[in-house]
């Protein structure tokens, strides 16, 4: 126990130190030139609202939907924009930051990176510090890694509160178990998430801008270049899930539609086309699924077996009402991860959700104590599709309370046997398929139309808050619908529902159709957000022409970006770690911005657009032209 507190203290201190270090860096760098950049102020109230937003993104209070909505940089960007007075730009920066995190998923207590921290803090730094969105993408990735400290501290500490819940269960205290699932964990989480983000929001923007002012121009350019290259990692990570088999061509269709229309085609149109093609694909292209191996191994009648073998023939005396079921489902949906911890994962969340059921079914202290303890054990599943486990278990509890011969082992074996496979299906559906596709769509809408140039750049795009809003509504409806259906069907039909829905092949069809749609949208997104601009020129008929603009892009627009995405995907397939790729791309971007071939770019004053040909890559396309400022409507 002491070790856990020490670990928590250490991590918190580290986070605070890092946060506190920024202002001092700013002071040290304070004397640097800050020519022409507007002064930045984030008021205390704005910083507090942003910090509160990040806490809420990790909290249970938004019907468990925070993880799918405001935890994502796209949606966080919209809200930070609202708080700082520019929701359109906030959404745009959030969308850009979100692309490298497109394939983000958290499975069974692992968190590779924290998109919530990257989004809430990254967008604040970008808006208040007037950063180029591409620079924000580079910085946000580092923030995302930093944010995982908060998550892992919490996972360690919350194990302690699970033992507090055990103590309440020992006293048959139903309300106490429920309270222990959220109060201590959330009190800690509030402090651990609010404080660092508050400090970052208040001091970060000026600090980051001062650091950027001290950097040589090629260094700043390097960060912008990296901001165009890092999205390839997010897209390639996502391709690991869907860029397979007969769905592969659709990725190229999406990419080409976007580049051929010079980025002017709406992602909604591409998605509509994707849906149509998904229908055709399912009807004509897909070979018939091989006869499921399961049916060979298992007699067909087996699936219809009721959950309990010994149901009393008389009318049960104790019946759960629809209200009990809905209350239980709502408690789970809210609080499944309120006390997420290494030791039990969702164990206390499961017990919390069972409290209305236990209240209705059990009356003696012994029964209540046994039921609470039974459901406080290790549990983890995908919290939406996986609800079929809860429904099934509730039906078993009801039969048990009415005298059926169902012992603890029977209930435990259903929980521990089903939670894994249901999580496998649920994660594939919600985290790997539905969320990234809807996110990609929202990001595409939020990215808006580039103004003026033939090749869109983030620097001159106009953000569209509708992308964040539509994504939020769509994902919320889908997630709640899956969760509610699984819960109620699990209760009503138990095991037969599980086997029926798996045998029907519906899930496979959804996944295959989503794969077609997802590839189209992902391809289109790659064309928009992955930016590679070669700087070197070639001599064509006596004139110096940009290599890419004169030769490569006329042949195949966006060939370099597409090549980069495919190379990243190939590296990931070769089991190169995403973090290694990230580090390599950052270094390469900054090296590629260094003026190896010509006059140096010491600072903004010396910088002439002729000099841009002296590096390997350039941040804007074509080399030499700064982005035209968008006309204000």
């Amino acid at each position: 126990m002491f070790r856990k507190f020490a670990a928590f203290g250490g991590c918190l201190a580290l986070a605070l130190l890092l946060a506190a270090a920024l202002p001092s860096v700013a002071l040290a760098a304070g004397s640097g030139t800050s020519a022409g950049t507007p002064t930045i102020t984030v008021s205390i109230w704005q910083a507090a609202l942003i910090a509160l937003g990040y806490y809420l993104a990790n909290s249970p209070w938004l019907f468990g939907l925070a993880f799918f909505t405001i935890y994502r940089p796209l949606v966080a960007g919209f809200f930070v924009g609202l708080i700082l007075g520019d929701p359109a730009q906030g959404t745009l920066v959030g969308a850009a930051i979100n692309v490298p995190f497109l394939a983000f998923g958290s499975y069974g207590g692992t968190l590779p990176i924290d998109p919530g921290f990257a989004g809430w803090v990254g967008v604040t730094l970008a808006l208040a510090g007037h950063l180029d969105p591409a620079t924000a993408v580079s910085i946000a990735f580092g923030l995302g890694l930093l944010g995982t400290i908060i998550f892992y501290t919490r996972m360690a500490l919350d194990s302690v509160f699970a033992h507090w819940a055990d103590a309440r269960a020992e006293k048959a205290d139903i309300a106490g178990v429920a309270l222990m699932n959220w109060l201590p964990g959330q009190a800690f989480l509030f402090v651990a998430s609010f404080v660092p983000v508050f400090i970052f929001a208040l001091n970060g923007p000026s600090a980051v801008q001062d650091v950027l002012n001290r950097l040589p121009l090629w260094g700043v350019n390097g960060l912008v270049i990296a901001g165009g290259i890092l999205p390839a990692i997010g897209i390639a990570l996502n391709m690991r899930f869907i860029f397979r088999g007969s769905a592969i061509p659709y990725f190229f269709i999406g990419f080409i539609l976007m580049t051929a229309s010079h980025g002017s085609m709406s992602l909604v149109v591409i998605a509509a086309l994707g849906l149509a093609l998904a229908y055709l694909h399912l009807s004509f292209v897909r070979r018939d699924a091989p006869a499921q191996t399961a049916t060979a191994a298992t007699p067909a009648a087996e699936g219809a077996r009721p959950a309990a073998t010994a149901v009393p023939s008389t009318e049960p005396a104790l019946r759960l009402t629809r209200g009990d079921l809905i209350r239980s489902w709502a408690l789970w949906t809210f609080f499944a991860h309120a006390n997420y911890n290494y030791e039990r994962l969702q164990g206390t969340g499961f017990a919390h959700a069972m409290t209305p059921i236990i209240k209705r079914l059990y009356f003696t202290e012994d029964e209540i104590r046994a039921a609470l303890k039974r459901h406080l054990v290790f549990f983890n599943t995908e919290p939406n599709f996986g609800n079929v486990v809860h429904g099934t278990v509730i039906a078993m509890e009801e039969q048990r309370a009415n005298g059926a011969a169902i012992d603890d082992d029977a209930i435990n074996s259903v929980k521990s046997g089903l939670m894994g496979p249901m999580a496998g299906i649920g994660d594939t559906l919600s985290q790997n398929t539905i969320t990234p596709i809807l996110l990609a769509l929202g990001i595409g809408i939020a990215g808006g139309q580039a103004g003026g140039t033939t090749v869109p750049t983030l620097s001159n795009a106009v953000g569209n808050p509708l992308g964040a809003i539509l994504y939020t509504v769509a994902i919320s409806v889908v997630i709640v619908a899956i969760g509610y259906t699984a819960w109620m069907q699990g209760y009503a039909r138990g095991r037969s529902f599980v086997t029926e829905i798996l045998r029907s092949g519906t899930i496979d069809r959804v996944l295959i159709g989503a794969g077609v749609l997802g590839n189209m949208v992902l391809g289109a997104l790659a064309a928009t957000f992955v930016v590679v601009n070669l700087a070197p020129t070639v001599n064509i008929a006596g004139a110096q022409m940009n290599l890419q603009a004169a030769i490569i892009d006329p042949l195949f627009p966006g060939a370099l970006a597409l090549g980069l995405v495919l190379m990243t995907w190939w590296l990931l397939r070769r089991q190169v770690s995403p973090l290694a790729i990230l580090a390599a791309y950052l270094v390469i971007s900054i090296l590629a911005a260094y003026p190896f071939f010509g006059p140096g770019q010491k600072n903004a004053g010396d910088y002439s657009y002729q000099a841009c040909t002296s590096s390997l890559l350039h941040q804007y396309s074509p080399c030499g032209a700064p982005p035209a400022p968008t006309a204000q409507p």
């Binding site: 290494y342 496998g424 295959i512």
Partner: protein, 160 residues
């Protein structure tokens, strides 16, 4: 060596396995070895249907599982082998299945179990079984998802 991932995981097939490992190592088949699961027709079917399309799942008891794993180890097809407990894994190893590395991916907490690393908890018996696996020349590593860095069991097992 086509037993690409030999994993101890008390939840058998779930998100970490399907979403992370299966894709990362490009496995085309999952072999589950567990006596209790092999006897339970319902769980057998659920596990078989829970894997993504095109990835066949076999459920074996220890006896048939050992023969099947040894056979698969000689083919080029990349395979994931899953067992619920160190005991099953040890039985496979003792039956001659060539296992170079055992990945400890999921062992939940419970009474009488102490936390070894993050979500991994072990009972004293399981510690003994894991040590025995190491003595038989199999490396035991903790790596929950494919993107994690593997941690050797030996480095965590000091002193107890």
């Amino acid at each position: 060596m086509s037993l690409r991932l030999v994993r101890i995981d008390d939840r058998l097939i779930h998100g970490q396995v399907v979403a992370s490992w299966l894709r990362a190592i490009g496995a085309q088949r999952i072999v589950i070895v567990d006596d209790a699961t092999a006897r339970d027709e319902f769980l057998r079917e659920v596990l078989t249907l829970a894997a993504p399309e095109g990835v066949p799942v076999e459920v074996h008891d220890v006896a048939s599982g050992a023969a099947r794993c040894s056979e698969l180890a000689r083919t080029p097809e990349p395979v994931i082998v899953l067992a619920r407990s160190p005991r099953t894994m040890l039985a496979l190893r003792q039956a001659g299945v060539p296992i170079e590395i055992v990945d400890v991916g999921g062992m939940g907490a419970g009474p009488g179990r102490r936390r070894l690393h993050k979500t991994i908890s072990v009972s004293p018996e399981e510690i003994r079984e894991l040590r025995e696996l190491e003595q038989l020349g199999t490396r035991v590593e903790i790596q929950i998802v494919a993107d994690d860095r593997p941690i050797s069991f030996r480095s965590l097992d000091s002193g107890n």
